[in-house]
Structures are given as C-alpha cells and as structure tokens.
C-alpha cells in the first residue's frame, strides 16, 4: 500500500487557447489504492484524468508513472504503459458487438492466443456477456453495458484505472454493482483514481478522498474523514447547515 505508482507534480492544463483549468496540481496514487476526487462543477476533476491519460497535454509540470514522465506521450502510448481510462460517457463502441468490443480492448496485445484466453477468463467473471457476444453494445441495458466496460478494462490487466463518473446515468442498483466491481478490481492490486459527482457513494468505496475547487487541490484526507468533515458536508455532500 505504500509504494507510490503515480505522481503528479505541479500540473497545469487547459483546453486549446482557454484559461488554465488545472493550476499546479500535486497528487499521488499508491498501489492498490482507490482515490476519489470530489468537488463542484468546473473544479477540474475530469480534466485531471484527461491530463494523465494523454487526451489533454499538460501545459506545465510532469506526470510520473513508476518514475517515468508521461507528459508528451500520445494517449495510445500511455495506455500501452498500463493506464486504463474509462471516459464519462461509457467507454464502449456502440456500433461494434460485444465480442468485437472485447477484442478491441485487447488491441495492444499482439499474442492472439493469449488474448483469446483472457477474453474467456473475463467471460467467466461476467457470464451474462457470454450469451450476448453478437449483440451490439449500444443495444444492451445499462447494467450489461457496465459489465462490458469493466470486462474490457481488466482484459489488459492495467496497473492504474482512471474512471470518470462511474455512476452517471445508471439505476441505483447498478451503481452499487459498479462500485462492487471497482472494489474487487482494487483488491487485485490495481490502483484506481475515481471522479464522482455522487460524492457520498464514491467516498464510501474509497481509501482516500481529494477535494478540488477552482483547479486546485483544497485538501486530501482519509475518505472517512472527508465524509465526516463538516465543511465538506455543507459544501458538497448536501447536508443542511445546522443553525
């Protein structure tokens, strides 16, 4: 639990010619840790994930993954190093079927036999998918899509998973299921950096919580402490001010 796997130093980033969204952010992620980032809209939560995944190139600072700097690498190169990014709006290819989606997940694996084995492996973890191999991903229910997303994510056995809003647009029972998957994946030694609007739910599955506002990390604490912090409860968790 103590070895740092990902370290952000002084990262500043923004979109195109716009203003800086992230302002000198420092962040660390340990092996096997689930870290949840919360904060109001526009705080730069999703932007952090995009900057790590290489979809957005930081303007300043560095992102160290196992002591190697990732800044300047293309998204596909970063992904090949073992960082898996699940974007906000479902990381699936709706126009491909389930089987093609799984093959696509293992795109960087050149050993076909190995990939076939791994696909069979994840199909035993998510048996529902086995019956749906030829169905288009876009026509499946939210819960099934969620399973396919996680099945895809673990095929490459990444070291870090960046997850943007796992609960967005899902029924409450499926949200529970999603967080169960996240906790299980973390138990296998994968580090998870999570952004969640549903802060209470996100924090209760995490080890540590990070509060962001206006592009900066306000503070970072144990997830339980963040949940119980009165200031945070008032500001972000929707508890009424007691007078």
């Amino acid at each position: 639990m103590n070895d740092v796997i990902l370290k952000l130093n002084n990262v500043t980033a923004g979109y195109q010619n716009g203003p800086d969204i992230l302002k000198s952010v420092d962040l660390t992620l340990k092996k096997g840790e689930i870290k949840c980032i919360i904060g109001p809209n526009g705080a730069g939560k999703s932007t952090i994930l995009k900057a790590i995944a290489g979809i957005l190139r930081p303007r300043n600072g560095n992102v160290l993954f196992n002591d190697r700097d990732l800044v300047g690498l293309e998204a596909y190169e970063i992904m090949r190093q073992g960082i898996c990014f699940l974007p906000q709006d479902r990381a699936l290819f709706d126009t491909l079927n389930v089987s093609e989606n799984l093959w696509m997940a293992g795109y960087t694996l050149h050993d076909k036999k190995e990939l076939k084995l791994r696909i069979e492996e994840v199909l035993t973890v998510f048996p529902i998918l086995k019956k749906r191999l030829s169905q288009y991903a876009g026509t499946m229910s939210g819960g099934e899509q969620q399973q396919l997303i996680f099945a895809r994510a673990i095929i490459l056995k990444p070291q870090i998973m960046l997850i943007d809003e796992p609960s967005l647009g899902l029924a409450p029972s499926i949200v529970e299921q999603a967080f169960k998957h996240i906790e299980e994946i973390a138990l296998t030694g994968v580090s998870i950096l999570l952004v969640e609007q549903n802060a209470r739910r996100g924090l209760s599955s995490s080890h540590t919580g990070v509060v962001m506002d206006l592009g900066q990390v306000v503070f970072e604490k144990d997830a339980k402490e963040v949940l119980n912090d009165e200031r945070i409860q008032e500001l972000y968790l929707g508890k009424r001010k007691s007078k």
């Binding site: 596909y76 974007p87 126009t95 491909l96 093609e100 093959w103 696509m104 795109y107």
Partner: protein, 319 residues
C-alpha cells in the same frame, strides 16, 4: 450451405473470364466496354469503401488519386515509351504515397470539414495540372494506341481491370475481417475512445486512406492507356467522385459486397435508360430518383439493409 456462398461468385468470375471468347464469333466490343467500365468502378468503389465505409470519412476527392495514377503512367508512356501496363504498380505506389501525405493533412478534421477538404484537394490539383507544362497543361497528354486488331484491343484493359477489381474486393474483405479493420471501425465510431483503447488513431486513418488511394491509382494507369488521351478536366471533376460515393451508398456502406452491388445496379440502370430514352439528360434525373426511392426502402443501402433484416442471400454475405 457454404456451397451456395462460393458457387455464385465463382460462376460469375468464370463467366466474366470466358466472356471475351464471344469475340471469335461476333464483335461485342460495346458489352466488353461496359463490363470493363463496371470493373473500373468496382475498383474505385471497393477502395473508397475502406476509408469511406469502414473509416467513416466521406471523401469526394478520391478521383485525385485516379488522376495521379493516370498521369504517372501517361507521362512515362510518352516520355520513356514504357507501356502503362508495366506501370500499374508504380502508379499505385505514387498515388498511395500521395494519399498518405494528403491524409496526414486532411484526416485531422472529420465530418463536413473533411468533405470540404476533399473537394478542395481536387480543385487545387485542377489548377496545378492545368498549368503544369511538363504534363501538357490543360491540353493533356496523348498516349500511343496499342497495335492489336480492333476485335482484341480492349482485352488487355479488360483483364487488368478484372484482376484489379478482384484485388480491390479481396482487400475490402480482408480489411473487414482483420484487426486493422476492427480498429478502423472503432476509430470511425469514436476517436478518443479508440485512442484510450491503445489504437494509434492517426496511423490507422492515414494508412486506410493511402490503401484506398493505392488501388485507385493503379486503376488510373490502365484507364489512361484505355482512353489514350488524358486531360485534367477528365479526372478532376466532382462527378466521378460523386458517382463513387453514390454507388457505395446505394449498395451499402461498410459491407464487402455493397460497393459491387451498388456499382452494377448504377451502371446497369443508367445503361437501360440510355437505351430506351437515348442520350437525353433523363438518365441523370431517373438515376437520382432511383437513389431516392432505394434509400427510402433500404436506408443502409441494399446489402446493408437486407443484412439487418437477415434476408441477405448467402452469396452476398461476406461480412
């Protein structure tokens, strides 16, 4: 079951290979012309389908590569006296490299911006070729005739086009079923998602673009020899590219047999109308009508829609 899948295409191929034998009995040059014209368009539609169908980049400037191929062969034929048939590969290669470079620039944008950039390509090339004295400027290049008797003079083109059409169809089939094609379809759906799945998005797009340019360029060499006269305004007009796009959409974008079906129906229909109503402009009007009506009932093109309804004949179902 598998029999009917292979039987019909093989039979058709056999008949097309043997067809020129009718020349021993009567002169059917016009039908041979029609067939090789269909092969020619099948090469272009099948190649276009790689980037336009699987990749989702609707290019209305693919005739630029036809032009490059034709001019490479035409120039070499006149300047160095080499038969264009020896230059099929070279023409394709030059067109492919040209496509690669163009792709690096234009494939950064997508949707309407890409379509406009592809039209801009042919407009720029039109200006360049019209003023490029080395290749004859606006008056073009005249190639030497082949010395075969008129009965047999079309056959070299006929078989070259047949061969290239087979190659284009095979390439189309291969892309549909390969990892490369899967990545290409993923990219057409969402570039960001593809990038985070580990795909080198730019390379995939540009390679697909260059591949489709390669085969069209090869066809250009044969086409130049067939026409014996090449001039910028024969190639660099939107009509050719528009025909390609319409044929593919009619047959079914992103399917292996769609471009073939679309091309055959398009050319056949045009020919029937010309036969019945003569060379008025009615054929253009009615072809437009055909397209509208077909797409009303087959929104994904003929092959695509039949496949969605699971009533596609086995011999057309190649993915």
């Amino acid at each position: 079951m598998t029999n009917s899948k292979y039987l019909v295409p093989l039979l058709a191929l056999l008949m097309l290979t043997m067809f020129p034998l009718v020349q021993f009995f009567s002169n059917q040059n016009y039908i041979i012309h029609l067939l090789l014209y269909a092969f020619f368009y099948i090469i272009m539609t099948s190649s276009w389908n790689i980037i336009g169908g699987y990749g989702g980049f609707i290019s209305i400037g693919h005739n630029a590569f036809l032009c490059v191929g034709a001019y490479v062969a035409g120039y070499a034929a006149v300047r160095y006296g080499i038969s264009p048939f020896y230059l099929i590969g070279l023409s394709g290669l030059v067109a492919g490299i040209f496509g690669f470079i163009v792709g690096l620039i234009t494939l950064r944008v997508k949707g309407p911006s890409f379509i406009i950039s592809s039209i801009a390509l042919i407009m720029i090339m039109r200006i360049v070729f019209d003023h490029w004295d080395l290749v004859g400027g606006a008056s073009g290049i005249t190639l030497p005739f082949n010395s075969l008797p008129v009965q047999w003079s079309k056959l070299p083109h006929y078989y070259s086009f047949l061969f290239l059409a087979l190659a284009a169809i095979y390439l189309n089939w291969y892309v549909r079923h390969s990892k490369f094609g899967l990545a290409l379809r993923a990219v057409s759906h969402d570039e960001t998602r593809s990038a985070v799945a580990g795909i080198n998005v730019k390379m995939i797009k540009v390679t697909a673009f260059a591949l489709s340019a390669f085969l069209i360029g090869s066809a250009g060499a044969v086409w130049a020899d067939y026409l014996t006269y090449i001039r910028p305004n024969m190639f660099l007009v939107i009509l050719i590219a528009a025909n390609i796009v319409l044929m593919v959409i009619l047959g079914g974008k992103g399917t292996v047999t769609g471009p073939i079906v679309g091309t055959v129906i398009f050319i056949l229909f045009n020919e029937i109308i010309l036969t019945f109503f003569g060379a008025t402009e009615l054929n253009i009007l009615l072809t437009g009508l055909l397209l509208v009506i077909t797409l009303l009932y087959f929104p994904d093109g003929i092959v695509g829609s039949l496949k969605n309804k699971n009533i596609l004949p086995k011999f057309l179902d190649w993915g």
